[in-house]
């Protein structure tokens, strides 16, 4: 039995409209896989399928060789997820939110309290730990989401724009944390628009466009495919951008400058 995550020929329809078509990926322990694509390319749908929050219309997702649809609770117990949107229970405090998550993850009392206090401290949230989340900034909420995803030491981490809203310090910590977790055998799927991060963190990337994979493989391989020494940003621009960015920028500036 091959350990890791295997998504096979996933397709997801909303009504009759396909959000993703024939999507496959393989993620092994210690691997960091980048998921890239413009807005509306199907990244969020892919992530929701891989977390088990939605079911694919066709295709299957195997984790350690078993279909996750057959044992969803056990699968979710091994997954940590940071969603793109920071939806939390805003009437709870940060500590209460993490306590709730820890309890539902069946973490023993002492261990849970110790981990929560340490992680709150390391993410610089100790001072705000007992304030309701309704008063938190976007970055503070994002930190709570990241701690929630890490609290139970998951085998698979699915991160959707995890750096969104984080301050510089937390952002740097995250950038260092991901390779450390990967080195400890975690599987990490990293979906982001910040190509600089993805290029630094991910050995391999998948590029989605209009629900289909348009490129997949190590960044070096993509460079070879494009037959030039490009940055990842330039490669993605060539793969998925249908407009001339410089020209569009000039046109935007012209419209902004109109006064009559």
């Amino acid at each position: 039995m091959q350990s890791g995550l295997d998504a096979r020929h996933l397709t997801k329809y909303y009504a009759a409209i396909p959000a993703i078509r024939d999507f496959s990926l393989t993620l092994r322990p210690g691997q960091v896989l980048g998921l890239l694509g413009p807005n509306g390319s199907g990244k969020s749908t892919t992530v929701s399928l891989l977390t088990g929050l939605r079911e694919p219309s066709t295709g299957q997702i195997l984790f350690d060789g078993r279909n996750i649809a057959d044992y969803p609770a056990e699968y979710k117990a091994r997954v940590g997820y940071v969603p793109e949107e920071t939806h939390l229970y805003t009437f709870l405090s940060g500590r209460e939110q993490l306590d709730l998550i820890g309890r539902l993850r069946r973490l023993p009392g002492d261990l849970r309290t110790r981990k929560i206090m340490a992680l709150l401290d390391l993410f610089g949230l100790t001072g705000a730990a007992d304030q309701p989340i309704s008063g938190y900034s976007k970055g503070m909420r994002q930190k709570i989401l990241i701690i929630s995803a890490l609290l139970h030491d998951p085998d698979l981490l699915i991160l959707d724009e995890p750096e969104s809203g984080l301050d510089l310090a937390a952002s740097l910590v995250l950038r260092h944390l991901i390779p450390i977790l990967a080195a400890r055998g975690k599987m990490i799927l990293y979906s982001s628009h910040v190509l600089d991060y993805v290029e630094r963190l991910c050995a391999e990337v998948i590029v989605l466009h209009r629900g289909r994979i348009v490129a997949q493989g190590p960044v070096t391989q993509l460079r070879a495919m494009m037959q030039r020494e490009s940055s990842l940003e330039e490669i993605i621009a060539q793969l998925v951008t249908t407009v001339d960015p410089a020209g569009a920028a000039r046109e935007i500036a012209d419209v902004v400058g109109q006064h009559a």
């Binding site: 979710k76 117990a77 939806h87 939390l88 229970y89 805003t90 306590d99 709730l100 069946r106």
Partner: protein, 608 residues
């Protein structure tokens, strides 16, 4: 400011008012994900049908009389109008309480509108305009149909009523109830503004939720008590020397407005029998006596009218002034309620100790308590449930004041006070658990869900038992005064066991996860709610009678206790047995579409 700038400012206020109104309706009144048109239609249909039902119910005597005499009609209309005015005040006040947090500038307003070049004054004026329009539309929508129907029914069999008189009666009734409704709405706005002014923004954040709950309990209690007010009470309150209790006074003020403006139209109508009753002996003496009694009330009604005329601008002025003053600056990002108090921390530690080895039970327990006490929607549901129990208690106690009972043999209705309070609270909890704590955050529970709801649900039930205990402790002084120590303690213990059994029964058929699944409304509430209410009364009074019997001798007490414990254990065993079979939780249950509920789709398919 130039005229051009002033016109631009007015346009901006109009635009922002529309924005605030839309958000009030879309986000604060109905769920952001719901179908706005369907939700509003259902809400309005429910309100109007209830109003029409009440109007018909009150008008049965007028509609069924062959000849309605003006004098008695004018007198009996006093208590009807008292009910209409009370309903208008309390319902409009409840409307204001429903959108409590949106009744001032919020951090989200500051986040969206703050960066734009719009003055804070413009934003706060628009917010105020949206709140006032909301209150006015709510009041008019609520009162429009009864304002036409009631005067029409009242005068249908009063032969001498002219068309113009009827129109004037309708206009005055509509004006009075609308004024009363606006009074209720602005009174809430004024209370909110005054408290915020007195305790400051930080202090208001601390007391806001408690104040809202207290006002909801008061208004629902007042609304439920209004139909119990008898015609004789109203006449007694209007005529001196019987002084009305203060909650009834504003209602009497507006009654004074109605009677001063249009009371004479009914009371002074000549008796014109229909042609087929020309030779029937009409009891004119009774009519004359009623007219004399009514006329005697007119000076006092005029005084009451003056109270209304004075209080209305006072309340509106206070509401507007406090609103504009407290909203003269955009709010900063809310720092929320401060850290948990020491007492709360100690209570939390005790609760953790009691459920130490079971994190899922702890999760259910704490999350239930946090949601029920902090989420606005859940708090409101609990406040309504508490108000039902309180109304029942007040009614029983008011009746007992009229018939003094023996200390050693209290009537069953006295036992029913506590039972009704507990059961209505539990029904409130049972309903509240079906409402998600925050629909957008449901993903979090789904991701952490281990697939077995039993321990989490057990925690939720324990949280409900904590609330039951709080109610029992609050009722204990009353029970001690009514029953003495021995019976009061036994009654509380029996109440606790009954609550445990009722809780298991409430959750027996629930296979959703409390606070974490999408809300699916009850199908056919027209049957379920009245049947549930009758069931609640039967269980309450059935158990109260059994308990009263059980308190007669120690032997009967033991028998009663054993029977109750057996019922509780039996229900618990059935619940455990049912939950042995594992079933997947449907986190995203949805109600059927309107076309499916009405069978339209099926109909079309069949005929095609």
């Amino acid at each position: 400011m130039t005229p051009h700038e002033a016109a631009g400012d007015r346009d901006l206020v109009r635009l922002l008012t529309r924005l605030f109104l839309r958000r009030l309706v879309d986000h604060d009144v109905i769920s952001p994900h719901a179908d706005r048109h369907e939700s509003l239609a259902v809400l309005y249909a429910l309100t109007v049908s209830l109003a029409v039902f009440v109007t018909f119910f009150l008008s049965v005597t007028y509609l069924s009389a062959f000849i309605q005499l003006p004098g008695p009609a004018a007198l009996s209309a006093l208590s009807d109008r008292f009910l209409f005015i009370a309903a208008s005040i309390t319902t409009s006040a409840l409307g204001a309480l429903m959108v409590w947090d949106a009744l001032s500038l919020e951090p989200r307003d500051a986040a969206i509108l703050g960066p734009l070049p719009i003055s804070t004054r413009t934003i706060s004026v628009a917010k105020l305009a949206a709140a006032v329009i909301f209150g006015a539309v709510l009041t008019i929508a609520l009162n429009a149909v009864p304002s036409v129907l009631y005067p029409a029914f009242l005068t249908l069999n009063i032969g001498g009523t002219r068309g113009a008189d009827l129109l004037q009666l309708i206009a005055v009734h509509a004006t009075t109830v609308t004024m009363a409704g606006l009074f209720g709405f602005f009174a809430i706005l004024a209370v909110r503004g005054a408290v915020r002014l007195l305790v400051g923004e930080g202090g208001f954040r601390r007391v806001s939720s408690g104040l809202q709950s207290l006002l909801v309990v008061s208004m629902v209690t007042a609304l439920l008590l209004a139909p119990t007010v008898r015609a004789a009470d109203v006449r007694g309150w209007i005529g001196v020397p019987v002084e009305a209790r203060w909650p009834a006074r504003p209602v009497l003020w507006f009654l004074g407005v109605n009677e001063t403006l249009a009371g004479h139209l009914v009371a002074e109508t000549p008796i014109v029998p229909p042609p087929r009753f020309l030779f029937v002996d009409i009891p004119t003496n009774e009519d004359r006596a009623a007219r004399v009694a009514y006329r005697a009330l007119l000076p006092r009604l005029a005084t009451l009218e003056r109270h209304a005329v004075l209080s209305m601008p006072l309340v509106i002025g206070l509401a507007l002034a406090t609103f504009l003053w407290t909203n003269r600056r955009l709010p900063e990002r809310s720092a929320g309620v401060p850290a948990a108090s020491r007492m709360r921390a100690i209570a939390r530690r005790i609760a953790e100790r009691c459920t130490e080895h079971d994190p899922e039970t702890q999760a259910g327990f704490f999350f239930a308590l946090q949601t029920l006490t902090r989420s606005a929607a859940h708090r409101t549901l609990l406040a309504i449930a508490v108000a039902v129990g309180l109304t029942h208690a007040l009614m029983i106690l008011a009746q007992s004041g009229r018939h003094v009972f023996e200390v050693h043999s209290p009537p069953a209705s006295m036992f029913a006070i506590g039972i009704m309070s507990l059961l209505s609270l539990l029904i409130g909890v049972g309903y509240a658990v079906r409402v998600p704590a925050a629909p957008a955050a449901n993903w979090m529970i789904r991701m952490t869900w281990c697939g077995d709801e039993r321990r989490y649900t057990a925690g939720v039930k324990r949280a409900a038992i904590v609330l039951v205990t709080v109610i029992l402790v609050l009722l204990l002084p009353l029970h001690l005064a009514l029953f003495g120590t021995r019976i009061a303690v036994l009654h509380s213990l029996f109440g606790l066991v009954l609550a445990a059994a009722a809780l298991d029964l409430l959750f027996l058929f629930t296979r959703t996860l409390p606070f974490a699944c999408t809300y699916v409304p009850i199908e056919n509430p027209k049957i379920v709610w009245p049947a549930g209410f009758v069931g609640l009364l039967l269980v309450t009074y059935g158990f109260a009678r059994a308990e009263r019997w059980g308190m007669e001798t120690p032997g009967k007490t033991i028998a009663c206790g054993v029977a109750l414990a057996a019922i509780a254990l039996g229900v618990n065993a059935i619940d455990r047995l049912r939950r042995q079979e594992r079933r997947p939780i449907n986190f995203e249950g949805r109600p059927a579409l309107a076309t499916q509920r009405l069978g339209l789709f099926e109909h079309v398919t069949t005929h095609d």
